[in-house]
């Protein structure tokens, strides 16, 4: 195995295949498989480097893994590397999505299919709640963290406020409150 190093030369095809695999095997969120391929299998980054890239990805808009793809691709192969990683990550999921969409287009309107899709839709909503709760448990945020998260839930899901406005108000507020709490420590 190669020693993980940000200066190691990683050829474009290797980046492509790595991210292609992350896309195709990433059912229900690409997080775990992405770490496995980037850190363990391909040795592109150390655990610590990956945590940093992921941490950046988490506070930026957009999917974590896509942001990680941009940064890792750029690190090894510049702009072209970033484009190749994102394209590779999206290729298989988009192809599979088109196949599923063709099936849906063909059979939707059939009463039995619509009933089944209704059940799947409820479950799809449930997967998002479950994934969010799981993240909350793994995060173990402090009291302020719970408050920020709870405010977001209440503002969007209970009060039905516009999500754009909620983000534009809550994000700066959360940062200021967190900075204030840190300073008092």
């Amino acid at each position: 195995m190669n020693a993980p190093s940000s200066t190691r030369a990683v050829p474009l095809p290797e980046l492509f295949w790595g991210f292609f695999q992350i896309g195709i095997f990433g059912f229900g969120g690409v997080g775990p498989i992405a770490r496995h391929i980037i850190v363990e299998q391909r040795n592109w980054l150390t655990e610590r480097e990956y945590a940093t890239v992921l941490g950046m990805g988490k506070i930026l808009p957009g999917a974590n893994t896509i942001n990680a793809g941009v940064m890792i691709g750029d690190r090894f192969r510049g702009r072209l590397g970033a484009v190749v990683c994102v394209a590779a990550l999206m290729a298989a999921p988009l192809a599979i999505l088109v196949m599923l969409a063709l099936l849906y287009d063909r059979y939707s309107g059939n009463p039995a299919v619509d009933v089944a899709m209704g059940g799947a839709a409820a479950a799809a909503a449930g997967t998002v709640i479950g994934a969010g709760l799981k993240m909350a448990c793994n995060l173990r945020p402090g009291l302020l963290g719970w408050l920020i998260g709870a405010l977001a839930v209440i503002a969007v899901a209970v009060l039905g406020l516009s999500l754009i406005q909620v983000v534009l108000v809550l994000a700066p507020l959360a940062v200021v409150a967190t900075a204030w709490k840190e300073r008092r420590r």
Binding site: K58, G62, A121, L163
Partner: protein, 181 residues
């Protein structure tokens, strides 16, 4: 609306949402639903919920929800325009910030931003799930399916596609028995 008009609208709507998607596409599903169902009136809640289920059934990043909305409205061109609109602004930002990574990642400001924004993102994702549950609900049985699936995802590492399949089958069975799902 002409096809060009739809493509233009897809680009405009989703590139705006792209930049607030802290936590990924799953954090902004209520904004996407609001835009395509309430503002543009392109589809009703139940169609949106069905498309969401199809997107969740495919592997890969959650951004696929905008891809399938694009597909539904304007075929392959719609899929590509919607996907690029959602990806491009966030990717350009990640690219710019990524070049600063080494310098800022250990800093106090970075830690504060993380402590503040990650809980916000998690809250938004839970809110998205609740919003979609409302959109998808056709009766009390759907709420049970959503709740059981949430538990399944929370408590196991298993592929959520099983919960989607089982819920589809359960809804069908309930319908055959004459319950309203």
């Amino acid at each position: 609306m002409s096809d060009d008009g739809i493509l233009w609208q897809l680009a405009r709507s989703f590139s705006a949402i792209s930049l607030i998607a802290i936590g990924g596409a799953n954090a902004v599903v209520p904004a996407i639903r609001h835009e395509v169902v309430d503002v543009l009136r392109w589809m009703d809640d139940s169609t949106f919920a069905h498309l969401f289920a199809v997107a969740q059934a495919a592997p890969g990043p959650n951004v696929l929800i905008v891809s399938i909305v694009g597909w539904h409205m304007a075929g392959l061109a719609g899929l590509l325009v919607a996907t690029l609109a959602m990806l491009l602004p966030a990717c350009l930002l990640a690219f710019a910030i990524g070049r600063l990574t080494q310098r800022v990642s250990g800093s106090r400001g970075f830690r504060i931003a993380q402590d503040a924004l990650v809980p916000l993102a998690v809250g938004l994702i839970v809110a998205s799930g609740l919003d979609m549950t409302k959109a998808a609900a056709t009766g009390p049985f759907s709420l049970v399916l959503a709740g059981l699936t949430a538990l399944f995802v929370l408590r196991t590492q298993a592929n959520p596609i099983w919960a989607l399949t089982a819920s589809a089958a359960a809804a069908l069975a309930a319908h055959q028995l004459g319950w309203t799902a």
